[in-house]
Symmetry: C2
Amino acid sequence: MSAANVLTGAHFVGLERAAGAGASFRAVDAARGVALEPSYFDADDALVASACERAAGAEDAYASTEGRARAAFLRRIAAEIAGLGDALVERVALETALPIARIQTERARTMFQLETFARAVEEGSWVDARIDRADRERKPQPKPDLRAMLRPIGPVAVFGASNFPLAYSVAGGDTASALAVGCPVVVKAHPMHPGTSELVATAIAAAVRATGMPDGVFSMVHGRGHAVGAALVRHSAIAAVGFTGSFAGGSALCRLASARETPIPVFAEMGSVNPVVVLPAALAQRGATIGQAVASSSLLACGQFCTSPGMVLYCDGAGAEDLVEAIRSTFAASPAGVMVHADIRSAYERAAATFAAQAGVRLAAEAAEGDASAPARGRGRVFATDAASTLRSLRLREELYGPALLLVRCRDVSEMEQVVAAMHGHLTATVHGDEADLQQHARLLRSLEKRVGRIVHNGVPTGVEVCAAMQHGGPWPASSDSRFTAVGPRAILRWVRPVAWQDAPQHALPSALRDGNPLGIVRTIDGEVGRL
Amino acid sequence: MSAANVLTGAHFVGLERAAGAGASFRAVDAARGVALEPSYFDADDALVASACERAAGAEDAYASTEGRARAAFLRRIAAEIAGLGDALVERVALETALPIARIQTERARTMFQLETFARAVEEGSWVDARIDRADRERKPQPKPDLRAMLRPIGPVAVFGASNFPLAYSVAGGDTASALAVGCPVVVKAHPMHPGTSELVATAIAAAVRATGMPDGVFSMVHGRGHAVGAALVRHSAIAAVGFTGSFAGGSALCRLASARETPIPVFAEMGSVNPVVVLPAALAQRGATIGQAVASSSLLACGQFCTSPGMVLYCDGAGAEDLVEAIRSTFAASPAGVMVHADIRSAYERAAATFAAQAGVRLAAEAAEGDASAPARGRGRVFATDAASTLRSLRLREELYGPALLLVRCRDVSEMEQVVAAMHGHLTATVHGDEADLQQHARLLRSLEKRVGRIVHNGVPTGVEVCAAMQHGGPWPASSDSRFTAVGPRAILRWVRPVAWQDAPQHALPSALRDGNPLGIVRTIDGEVGRL
């Protein structure tokens, strides 16, 4: 199967294909700068509304499906994605310039995520069933029978990321977690990979048909500007929003959502500097090793990972030169990679120029030009500055999206602490320290903890495990609500709300709450946890 | 001890008393319309900032306390409240006109809530510790060690309710749950019960001293207008907001919080109609009994419970007259109660006039005038209308705060469904139905479920159990985030966020995440749940 034979440029309004409307656009071969077929079109408000109404129409039927049925649906989506074969990998490669091996890994991760959520909802304990039994003899008031569980919040709007065309896009973590718990999904396809999006949407639509899911459980609209996404978030049928992308985009959606007549929750992951703190003893012992590890992590995927380290804090003293030299030489020796889109590269170039223009900042290393024919090539850059300059410039403490690293020289750990105290929220912080370092600088560690979702010890922040103990999301502006994660089985908590039944007869209760535990799930009965 | 000897009109900036600033105001004896001593003063921005900075200063020390220490603190607060004795009850009675027995019950509930949260944090499993162990041999990438748990979000601003001067005010559920997990609290005292607030703040301050908690863990500012609360929510040290009150107040705080440079989560409980649906078979069998139960529930506390039923939906046919007559006669026979404040009563009178002026609405019953000397007396009123009029008037589908009930006559269940479908979110819905009713009208039940946090079968919505299976919070505008509850041990989830540690050495981990489970709590290790 070749992608060119399949792609039509259509939107998906449930299982129906809707032809283009509005202004047209095409994906661009990021490596060669050539526009790709077919043309896609901005959805108009009526089309967005159709997709949302279709989702609302499917809401009740889908919310009442059993976990096993939804698990089969998710697994079928994974199988249909696998069935797209090389055509999908090739289209992703064309639209994003990501290396084939990376795309294959990301596809595997996408399927693993679908399987993870499938397992969770098949097993069923995620509903957090709680039963507090009646005590009709209690004085002065009888105690009623109360039973609560998590229920789907309603249709979810999903905005995919440019840097994860599969794992955080049409069938990515947000879609998979929302579908898992019983929420219909309306995806706004990322305009930088519309063909990839259409292929994956085709796979999901095939899975909807194959497993008999209600039409409307999945829709997808295209759009290049902000209007399509805004119409989606404003539609009254949408109950929550998942977004992965820039601070500008995510914070705009948050504002739109809170200005609705009925405000809705938005989980937006909006970027992160992922600071790396190198403590003195570790620096003295292994400055060069740390430098090389950080530089390699920073250059992965041309600096386009959300957990890419963007700042290194270190103190003057033993090992400092080794650290800096290792970072500089690694960057200088790495030829420019290709970013996923020329627009991303332009933004990187503009941001890098702004960084370079900050007082007290100098360019310490730059990668070779690389293949000049690739319009989206992104050259690695190392900037060097000191703590005082970093404290003076808010811009230096914000994300520079792309293969860039800011080295911040501090006089001592106390100055390092000042820089950390001036930081906003981030997804991760990495600490390189030996036992003495960590014991001595507990206050710095606590200060980092307050500002991030995940603290990495003596490692690199890139490489996000999909597991229960993963926290992917941090204080603003890393994410819009630090109480939730975008990765791991607990990502489903974004799309559910508790509902309680009081004195309901057995037949009026969801099976998860019935006497005898027909689903065999873990429940909490009168405070006791077990498969009761 | 007499309250008059204790009250000073001061704000609490941590353990310091700050004298009045800004415009002054006094509480009013709601039953007699007499202003009470002492004078209170609107906090100015500098004073609000001092309280917030004091909270920020206590944040790290308080977040690092052990659960056992915080449990002792909460229990000491309860003991200090008990120690206020009759002076507290008398002041509450003066400021709110609530009956003594009700105040004693509410005080007991406040202490029970403190004890519930104390038990939860003493036991410790609430941190939801998750450990995914390393697999250094995994291919292609080694798997790191990941450990996550819930950590306090930071200082919480709490706005108490006029209708629960103890249980949802200074030491109420929001304060207790935030303090329990390790968040400092800054309370904005409700201007209708400033003396009650001062007494309870005195108790909390005494508990801070007695248990050696960091100064700044609790502060309280007074203010009559919106400016004080706005300054509090805007302050950069505040990380989350808890509010119980009106839709106007809660939604204004939500807007303020989302317009901050760093938006923060707000859990606002903002009122609810608590519709009651009487299905045909139940109506035919026990219309009068249901009518009397609903009317009594509606009149409790002069209609000032957040779960007070405000609307009854029923179908023409057998039992309908019995239902209506029981409601009318119960209301007509109940003398006017006294509302907590003359301003609340004025708002009730205005709202009742608006209701009466809606097309198709008539006043079906009205309570006797009652004690004319009480300026805050609230007369029970029953309004009657039909489904069509209710569908035409948004106002009829919104809360009428006070002792009022709207009877909505429907042609059939299908018309009932239309009214339900036009409803916004509420805290509760009550269904009266026999087995046949419930089986036949499953679609109506599902429609109710989507719109509320709790569904009561064949009972009344008033009387909120403090237990794990309670859900107190519903879709907008009942609450600002339906994913959380304001009542029960899970109320703490509003004030915590997960933090993950990757490859951290044992000594750098919180004790909840260390090998060997030194706290003996329930944890999830590689997917297995237990005290491992």
